[in-house]
């Protein structure tokens, strides 16, 4: 039986695109025929659940009962568990995972554990890297530079850039390109997964009437995001084989 895979998407800063990245992950796994479930920690009203209601459950990561709901069911047949961690809760959540022995299980190879750390533009956000790194033994650590707001991540100042991005030896950098603002807003209003938007479908798979231009922008952007996931061999991580994906046909 394949090892359960847990992917935590988080940041200690708000508004850096955690839920957007979680949505692209769910679309990516769906297109690659990987069974996935998601937990949205934005309790009581979750954004991720609005876009992926069928596979998402809202939980409170600080409550023991909800921790049990997530981690005691890892062997329930679903390949991947994606947890969208609310702003400010990444470090406390990782501390909780350490306390319940989850990180030790990952270190022992019983569970595949990955963290997508979404970075914001400020020094404070970059400081989180060092803090988070303390929990990363036994985990795959991805530093996600989300260009959704044209942030430069100090690439113009190599010394500052290196001091942050090269501090953790085994971290993998990942780039999420910018999506056209109107396209992003239209998907928000539609409240459907990116894949359904591209396919011009509504919440219940009914035919929709989204702008062809906006769908084109989303399709192009999603293909770029997925090519980043392909580059880091995300399907290998979850033990699946990349195939021809519906969204790219």
């Amino acid at each position: 039986m394949a090892k359960p895979v847990v992917i935590v998407v988080g940041a200690d800063k708000g508004g850096v695109g955690k839920t957007t990245v979680s949505r692209t992950l769910l679309d990516y796994f769906s297109a690659n025929n990987v069974l996935t479930r998601a937990f949205d920690t934005e309790s009581p009203r979750g954004t991720l659940k609005r876009f992926h209601p069928d596979v998402t459950e809202i939980v409170d990561m600080t409550a023991t009962s909800d921790q049990m709901k997530i981690f005691d069911t890892l062997n329930a047949g679903t390949s991947v568990t994606v947890i969208d961690v609310r702003a400010g809760l990444l470090s406390p959540s990782l501390a909780s995972l350490r306390d319940i022995g989850f990180l030790d299980a990952a270190k022992a190879g019983q569970i595949t554990f990955a963290v997508f750390h979404i970075l914001g533009p400020s020094i404070a956000s970059l400081d989180e890297i060092a803090e988070t790194a303390n929990f990363m033994q036994g985990a795959k650590y991805y530093l996600v530079k989300n260009f959704i707001n044209d942030t430069q991540f100090f690439q113009w100042d190599q010394a500052t850039y290196n001091s942050y991005f090269h501090r953790i030896k085994d971290a993998t950098e990942l780039t999420i390109p910018k999506l056209n603002e109107m396209a992003y807003e239209q998907v928000e209003v539609s409240s459907v997964p990116f894949l359904k938007f591209v396919a011009n479908k509504g919440k219940e798979d009914e035919a929709a009437n989204y702008s062809f231009v906006l769908r084109g922008y989303v399709r192009h952007w999603l293909a770029n995001v997925w090519s980043e996931f392909d580059r880091i061999k995300l399907t290998d991580l979850v033990g699946a084989k990349p195939g021809v994906r519906g969204g790219e046909k």
Binding site: S211, F212, V213, G216, R219, H220
Partner: protein
């Protein structure tokens, strides 16, 4: 049903005859089909809107909303031919956008036939633009327009790979005559009794070329 043609008349250079061809083509399609939709993205030059205001609307692709307004119309298979007079300043942005949103693929799916009419010129900007278009547009949908008034000689190497449509130069006095905003090619054909005049023959020759072009392109796409 035949695919709906979308003619995109373009060049990265000003004053190469884009609007002249857009007028000719629009009037030809009006005469043949009784309907045409013109889109003017050429507001910095004398443009289609000034000549054919009843069938032309302006479009601006500087922002996403403008792009939606234009492209969501162009992608509709409604049997009405579309003519886009694409200004030189919008050339790069337009084709960057069509490439990103997958315009040609979607057009094929929807039975819409984009036909790119590239106005050739002998300068370096045009020489660079043509191969860029070739990367995006199949050769059978990319027509080079050899406007004798502009090219004045052989087409630059590489631009004659696919189909070429030649427009012969008019004498200056006739060019001034057809450039008047009140001038209509079709009205001239109907009103001029003498079919041997140079302008009469020039219009008929170009209408015939456009008819052959449309027939061959739509026949291979349908």
């Amino acid at each position: 049903m035949n695919p709906t043609p979308v003619y995109i008349i373009c060049s990265p250079r000003p004053l190469v005859g884009k609007t002249l061809l857009a007028r000719l083509l629009s009037e030809f399609l009006l005469l043949k089909d009784g309907a045409v939709s013109g889109f003017d993205i050429n507001l910095k030059e004398p443009s289609l809107l000034e000549y054919l205001p009843r069938v032309t609307e302006t479009a601006d692709i500087a922002d996403t909303f403008g792009k939606m307004q234009l492209m969501d119309r162009l992608i509709v298979h409604d049997g009405v031919a579309k003519v886009v007079d694409l200004g030189f300043h919008a050339f790069d942005e337009f084709f960057k956008m069509t490439n990103e949103i997958g315009f040609l693929k979607e057009a094929t799916r929807r039975n819409v036939a984009p036909i790119i009419l590239f106005m050739a010129d002998t300068d370096r900007v045009s020489a660079r633009a043509y191969p860029t278009l070739r990367e995006q547009i199949p050769l059978n949908a990319l027509i080079t327009i050899d406007n004798e008034y502009v090219v004045r000689g052989e087409l630059p190497g590489g631009m004659a790979l696919g189909r070429v449509l030649r427009i012969t130069a008019l004498p200056s006095f006739l060019k001034t005559y057809v450039d008047r905003q009140s001038f209509s090619f079709t009205d001239y054909l109907r009103s001029e009794q003498d079919s041997s005049t140079e302008l009469h023959q020039w219009i008929r020759r170009n209408y015939t070329s456009l008819r052959e072009l449309e027939f061959s392109l739509l026949a291979q796409k349908s």
